[in-house]
C-alpha cells in the first residue's frame, strides 16, 4: 500500500484534512494519558498549522493517498541546552497515521524526510517524546534509529 502513498511537505489546501487527523489523534492519546489531554482546540491547532506551513523553523509532512491526507508529522527546531551547551535541536511531535495506513513504513519515511530537512538547518539531534505506554511509537522510532535517552517523570502535589 505504501507505494500508493506519496510523502511531501504540506500546503495550505491540506490544512482541513490535517486538522481532522489531529482530532482523531487527540482522541487516541487523551484516552491513554491523563497528562496529555487535548488542551489545544481544533481551531487553535489550525492556526498553528497555518503558521507552521509558512515558518522557516517548522516542518509539516503529509502522506497522501489518492488525494486524501492519510497521515501527518510535525517537526520544529528550537535552540536548546544539551550538556549545558546551546544547540539547534529538532523535535518531531504529533505524528499520526490513519490506522489503515499504519505498519506501512510511512512514519519511518516521514522521519527520513524530516531528517534531511533538519540537516539543512544545522540540527545535530532530533528528539521525539513518546508516552511510556505507547510501545508502538517507540518501536517505530527505534526502527528509524532513535534511542531512549531520558524518562520524563511527573508528580502531583
Amino acid at each position: 500500500m505504501l507505494c500508493d502513498v506519496s510523502l511531501r511537505t504540506a500546503k495550505k489546501e491540506d490544512i482541513d484534512q490535517i486538522v481532522a487527523l489531529y482530532d482523531a489523534h487527540m482522541q487516541y492519546i487523551t484516552k491513554r494519558s491523563k497528562h496529555f489531554e487535548a488542551k489545544m482546540s481544533s481551531s487553535d491547532f489550525k492556526k498553528c498549522i497555518q503558521e507552521d506551513i509558512d515558518a522557516d523553523d517548522a516542518l509539516v509532512v503529509v502522506g497522501e493517498h489518492k488525494s486524501q491526507i492519510v497521515g501527518f508529522l510535525l517537526g520544529y527546531i528550537v535552540r536548546s541546552h544539551i550538556g549545558k551547551e546551546r544547540v539547534n535541536v529538532g523535535y518531531i511531535e504529533q505524528g499520526y497515521v490513519l490506522p489503515k495506513f499504519c505498519r506501512t513504513g510511512l512514519i519511518v519515511k516521514g522521519i527520513a524526510l524530516a531528517k534531511d530537512w533538519f540537516k539543512k538547518s544545522n540540527v545535530a539531534h532530533i528528539i521525539s517524546n513518546v508516552n511510556t505506554h505507547n510501545e508502538f511509537s517507540m518501536k517505530v522510532l527505534k526502527k528509524a534509529g532513535f534511542k531512549e535517552r531520558t524518562i520524563r517523570y511527573v508528580c502531583e502535589f
Binding site: 494519558s33 491523563k34 497528562h35 496529555f36 489531554e37 487535548a38 488542551k39 489545544m40 487553535d44 498553528c48 544539551i82 550538556g83 549545558k84 551547551e85 529538532g90 511531535e93 504529533q94 531528517k115 533538519f118 540537516k119 544545522n122 540540527v123 545535530a124 539531534h125 532530533i126 528528539i127 521525539s128 517524546n129 513518546v130 508516552n131 511510556t132 517507540m138 522510532l141 527505534k142 528509524a144 534509529g145 532513535f146 534511542k147 531512549e148 535517552r149 531520558t150 524518562i151 520524563r152 517523570y153 511527573v154 508528580c155 502531583e156 502535589f157
Partner: protein
C-alpha cells in the same frame, strides 16, 4: 544540623561547581551530554540570571556553613498540547555523596512544594537519563510516575 534555604548570588561558585559535577556524571552515561568548552562561564552566566529570577527557585542545603547540595527548579510553561498551563520543573539536584540517603531530597521537595502551592502550581516535572538508575529509584520513591520517554537520534 542541616539547614535548607534559598540560594543567593554568594552561593554561585558552589552551585556552578556542583552543576559541573552533575554534567560529568551525565557525560559518563552518554557522550550526548559532553560539556561545552566554556562550560563554567556558561553556567556562571545562566545561574547568575537564575538566582535573580522570580520564576526560578534554587535551594541549597548547608551543614555548619558548608553547602552540601542544591535543588534547582523553575516554573515552566507547558507545551501547547498539555493539559496544565505550567509546572514546577526540577532541572538539577545534586547532593554530596556522604549526605545522600538521609532524606535531604524530601526536605528540598517539601520546601519547594510549599513555595509552588502559593503560586497555584500542583505538578512537578523532571527528566532522568535512562541509565541513571539511582535517580530513577529516588524519584519513584518520592511519588513520581513515569510519563514519557524522550527518544533521540543523532543526525550529524
Amino acid at each position: 544540623m542541616i539547614k535548607i534555604r534559598k540560594a543567593t548570588l554568594d552561593d554561585l561558585d558552589t552551585v556552578v561547581s556542583f552543576c559541573v559535577k552533575l554534567t560529568d556524571i551525565h557525560h559518563a552515561f552518554n557522550d550526548y551530554y559532553k560539556p561545552g568548552k566554556d562550560i563554567e562561564n556558561s553556567l556562571r552566566e545562566t545561574y547568575t540570571q537564575d538566582l535573580m529570577s522570580e520564576e526560578v527557585l534554587i535551594l541549597v542545603a548547608e551543614d555548619r556553613g558548608k553547602i552540601i547540595g542544591y535543588f534547582d527548579t523553575a516554573i515552566k510553561y507547558a507545551e501547547k498540547f498539555k493539559s496544565v498551563d505550567a509546572v514546577a520543573y526540577i532541572y538539577d539536584v545534586f547532593i554530596l555523596p556522604e549526605y545522600r540517603r538521609k532524606g535531604l531530597l524530601k526536605q528540598f521537595m517539601d520546601i519547594a512544594i510549599k513555595a509552588y502551592k502559593e503560586q497555584g502550581l500542583n505538578v512537578f516535572e523532571l527528566r532522568v537519563d535512562v541509565n541513571n538508575k539511582d535517580a530513577m529509584n529516588a524519584w519513584l520513591k518520592m511519588g513520581f510516575q513515569n510519563w514519557q520517554i524522550s527518544m533521540v537520534k543523532r543526525i550529524q
